[in-house]
């Protein structure tokens, strides 16, 4: 029961140096965000999976799955607790995705555009915070967040493209 496996020592972050409250919050919120985004795309796929935008949504969903995986790793490495609202985001995300998809392809894409816009803004302000703190110390984290911010902007642009066409 429960399969708790031993962690390998590779991800050994020196937790003494790190500004715990700031990093904790960043990772917890980002993890919750990626988790929510996953559920939104899952909801959209449930409705529009077999339509012409199905493959597009699937691809964006796959990238979000990678993002979530990365944050799961960071969460363990930095010993951050997950948000207690995860069960809520599970349902709320799916409902938002499915609901917007029921409005049609335009609805789904508009939802994507809005969500990705606010996620990129959010990542941008985190990048600013970390740069103000100590760009050297948080180099790895900054790299991850910048990459993800770029991915989300791409999703935003894809959403706009398809929103216009659909």
């Amino acid at each position: 029961a429960g399969g708790v496996s031993l962690r390998r020592c590779s991800t050994r972050v020196n937790l003494e140096d790190v500004n715990r409250p700031v990093i904790d919050r960043i990772i917890r919120v980002d993890h919750a965000g990626e988790y929510g985004a996953n559920r939104i795309y899952a909801g959209q796929m449930a409705v529009l999976g077999r339509s012409s935008v199905g493959p597009v949504i699937q691809q964006m969903w796959n990238q979000e799955k990678d993002h979530l995986k990365k944050f799961n790793e960071l969460m363990v490495a930095y010993r951050v607790r997950p948000t207690v609202l995860l069960p809520f985001w599970n349902v709320a995300g799916f409902v938002l995705g499915a609901g917007s998809a029921l409005l049609g392809k335009k609805g789904a894409m508009a939802c994507t555009v809005a969500v990705e816009e606010s996620i990129s803004d959010h990542y941008n302000s985190q990048i600013r915070t970390l740069m103000e703190e100590d760009p050297e110390k948080y180099k790895e984290l900054l790299q991850v967040i910048k990459q993800f911010r770029d991915d989300e902007r791409e999703h935003h642009d894809i959403g706009l493209e398809h929103d216009a066409e659909a």
Partner: protein, 237 residues
């Protein structure tokens, strides 16, 4: 604090460090005096300070108890860290989860043994409203530490479930321990073993309850369909 020459003396010590030294020295006197200002005064005297140094602290012994708990937690973390190193170096076997949890809780509770007579007093003081934030903080970080070294990597709600369950196990075992008069507290360790086994089984039980629940629902649906069919037939006749 600086000396007259404007330079810090070599044995410069902050107030906090001094307080830690006094409280550590005071622990020796707890079995006799309890978690009180008297114990702190005696501790201060062994360091060559005046008994009035006890005036630095609250009269209810809160800081002494919190200091002790914090020290025990640090010792536990160091112990678990060392064990983990041995496993990584291949010099020790990795323990199964239930044994790991049992051993960690036992190691931590054994630190109470020299003070066990006066521990109920300490527990009640830790529950005072002004101490709850600190004592809760110490408890949750200790439990988190144990799960961390047990290898917990949950990033979902299990993170909370596991910690809640272990906290329950720890607290109940602690209460059993303070009333235990068996040799070397063997009753306590048996209680601990049973509680940990229960917790491990909970996962299986949850699955079983769900399957049973689904089966019951299906049965009820079948019954409802049969009854409504019988009613409709009777109505038609």
């Amino acid at each position: 604090y600086t000396g007259q020459g404007g330079q810090e003396s070599e044995d410069y010590e902050s107030e906090e460090q001094l307080q830690h030294r006094i409280l550590t020295a005071a622990l020796e006197f707890v079995p006799e005096h309890g978690w009180t200002a008297e114990a702190i005064a005696e501790g201060a005297k062994t360091l060559g300070l005046s008994a009035a140094a006890a005036g630095m602290f609250h009269s209810d012994g809160s800081e002494l108890i919190l200091h002790f708990v914090s020290q025990c937690n640090t010792k536990l973390s160091e112990l678990l860290e060392q064990e983990q190193k041995l496993v990584q170096l291949g010099e020790a076997e990795k323990k199964p989860t239930d044994q790991f949890l049992r051993d960690a809780v036992q190691a931590r509770l054994r630190m109470l043994i020299p003070y066990i007579e006066k521990w109920p007093q300490a527990l009640s003081i830790l529950l005072l409203p002004h101490n709850i934030p600190s004592s809760l903080n110490l408890l949750t970080s200790m439990i988190d530490d144990i799960w961390h070294y047990a290898g917990d990597q949950s990033t979902d709600f299990n993170w909370y479930t596991r910690r809640a369950v272990l906290t329950g196990i720890y607290n109940t075992t602690e209460l059993v321990m303070i009333q235990d008069s068996s040799p070397d507290f063997e009753d306590t360790w048996r209680f601990l073993e049973n509680r940990v086994a229960d917790a491990m089984n909970m996962g299986n039980t949850a699955n079983q309850v769900q399957s049973t629940g689904e089966a019951v629902v299906q049965g009820l649906m079948g019954a409802a369909v049969t009854v409504s069919y019988a009613e409709t037939s009777r109505a038609v006749r």
